[in-house]
């Protein structure tokens, strides 16, 4: 049995396997028989690369119902977030130096905003409701005349909680504030209609949606005042906003992944709902088990659960061969509980015991049954081994 056969992967929120059709499209482009030319070259092969890239942009734009020329290719969502936040802040600093975000954002958002803070920007960090949702009233009361940017993620990477980005966007636009959405977890998984959604900037990545790693995109709305200053310089590609040789094979992969996601989104969602419900019904009666987030406003592909009086690191090891994510930034150097779950009001101990189970297209019912069995038995074993608290 290979090591790969010996694992049960339930960490699709971290990354997904590349779809076979995506891989085929990418490899066809990379070999001597393919179209490997630099798209910046003016010869025929280069021009053909440009056509392939334009086709991929059309596929991704089709998924999001926007124009292909509103998409800037990046190396992934982290770069897109940085370009959106730092680029917009620099471009719009005459408007003001106040930025609003949430405490539950991904580090790819919180870290660039913290950089702005170090450079004299004023930052308001909004707390979520206990279920992870943003109270729109708290956003509205935080908006100021000098607020220039609001950055709120669409789907939380730890809890799967889905924010109402339509309402957030409306609140921002009422005050002429730019709205950036980190949609790394939601693009290709949830319907997004950028023709109808008044979002200004949206970050996305391919590898969360069965595309390759190393390619992402930033959507920049075609509206007055919506622009970003580049973070990189040289070459002038992509209107100078993100120069550098375009990785045609990665882009083709992202485009194909987007097209596949669009065609099977409803089926994917039905599949995930069935898996999520099966898993939750299998564990919810365990004493002390607690859902982090909300089923009602949550993505069915992510279920984050804590359990009372269980040490999280031991739980994670006891769950092997399940590949899941711990709620803590848990490694040999850091045992810090998840700042996202702490922001939801969970205690350190509950946050530390949190496990994120995330499901994907390849997940089968028997994987869920195994996960339920392992989770139940791991908790029973660890509880059976634990002494009572000292009097």
């Amino acid at each position: 049995m290979t090591e790969h056969e010996n694992i049960v992967y339930l960490d699709y929120a971290a990354s997904t396997p590349v779809d076979a059709q995506v891989l085929e499209a990418m490899t066809a482009l990379m070999t001597a028989d393919g179209n490997y030319a630099n798209p910046s070259s003016t010869h025929r092969a280069g021009r053909r690369s440009v056509e392939y890239i334009a086709h991929a942009a059309g596929q991704l734009a089709g998924l999001l119902n926007t124009a292909a020329d509103r998409l800037i290719w990046t190396s992934g969502a982290t770069e897109s977030d940085n370009l959106a936040i730092l680029g917009a802040a620099r471009f719009r600093q005459a408007k003001g130096r106040h930025v609003i975000s949430m405490r539950t954002e991904h580090k790819a958002v919180t870290d660039p905003i913290s950089v702005l803070e170090k450079h004299g920007f004023d930052v308001t960090w909004l707390d979520p409701e206990p279920n992870g949702l943003l109270d729109i009233a708290s956003l509205e009361s935080a908006l100021r005349d000098d607020t220039q940017l609001v950055s709120i993620m669409h789907m939380n990477n730890e809890t799967g909680v889905i924010q109402d980005i339509e309402k957030i966007a409306a609140a921002c636009h009422e005050r002429d504030v730019l709205f950036h959405v980190d949609a790394a977890q939601s693009v290709g998984k949830l319907p997004i209609d950028l023709a109808a959604l008044p979002v200004d900037l949206m970050s996305m990545t391919a590898h969360k949606v069965y595309g390759p790693k190393g390619i992402g995109a930033l959507y920049i709305a075609d509206r007055p005042g919506v622009h970003v200053d580049p973070l990189l310089y040289g070459g002038g590609q992509q209107r100078g906003l993100r120069p550098g040789t375009l990785p045609a094979q990665q882009i083709i992969g992202f485009g194909m992944a987007a097209e596949i996601a669009q065609s099977r989104m409803n089926d994917d969602l039905k599949h995930l709902v069935a898996l999520r419900d099966k898993f939750w019904s299998g564990i919810r009666d365990i004493p002390g088990v607690l859902l982090n987030g909300t089923i009602e406003h949550g993505f069915p592909g992510i279920l984050n659960v804590s359990v009372d009086d269980i040490e999280g690191e031991s739980l994670l090891l006891a769950l092997e061969p399940l590949c899941v994510a711990t709620g803590s930034a848990c490694n040999s150097k850091s045992q810090a509980p998840s700042y996202v779950l702490r922001a939801l009001g969970k205690s350190d101990e509950l946050a530390q015991s949190a496990i994120r189970f995330s499901f994907g297209r390849p997940t089968r019912a028997q994987d869920i049954e195994l996960a339920v069995d392992l989770y139940r038995s791991a908790i029973a074993r660890l509880r059976g081994m634990a002494p009572e608290h000292a009097a």
């Binding site: 690191e313 031991s314 490694n331 040999s332 150097k333 081994m385 634990a386 002494p387």
Partner: protein, 125 residues
């Protein structure tokens, strides 16, 4: 990027802790500190540890350390309990230095058990 934080030895001790449990013996020691709960119990005969068990709430290194000490002290003189070294455990289990405090809790529990055993053997001292 991450590498496996657990040695094969830790994985084996954590996965099959043969000494998990509690003995009926009155010779017990409990400590709760550093986010760790540990309770040790022992049966002693003729100044020798005949059986030793642990209950523990903690990370895999703590559970592995508790199993390791129970296994290693069975059949040994009780005096050894007072001489246990956290440093030896850290080395044997390749415990990362950030977890030193937790292994010191295990060390404290073993020493406490050693003093309980000593006091029980010499009630007039």
């Amino acid at each position: 990027m991450s590498s496996d934080p657990y040695s094969a030895h830790v994985r084996q001790l954590f996965g099959a802790p043969a000494h998990a449990g509690r003995l009926a013996s009155p010779l017990r020691a409990s400590i709760e500190a550093q986010g760790v709960r540990i309770r040790l119990s022992a049966e002693v005969d003729n100044n020798e540890v005949r059986a030793m068990r642990f209950e523990a709430w903690g990370c895999p290194h703590v559970i592995a350390a508790a199993e390791e000490v129970c296994a290693s002290f069975e059949g040994k003189p009780v005096s050894g309990l007072l001489g246990i070294s956290a440093a030896d455990l850290m080395q044997s289990l390749s415990v990362p230095v950030e977890k030193t405090g937790r292994i010191l809790v295990v060390e404290d529990a073993v020493r406490l058990l050693g003093s309980v055993v000593r006091d029980a053997s010499n009630p007039d001292d």
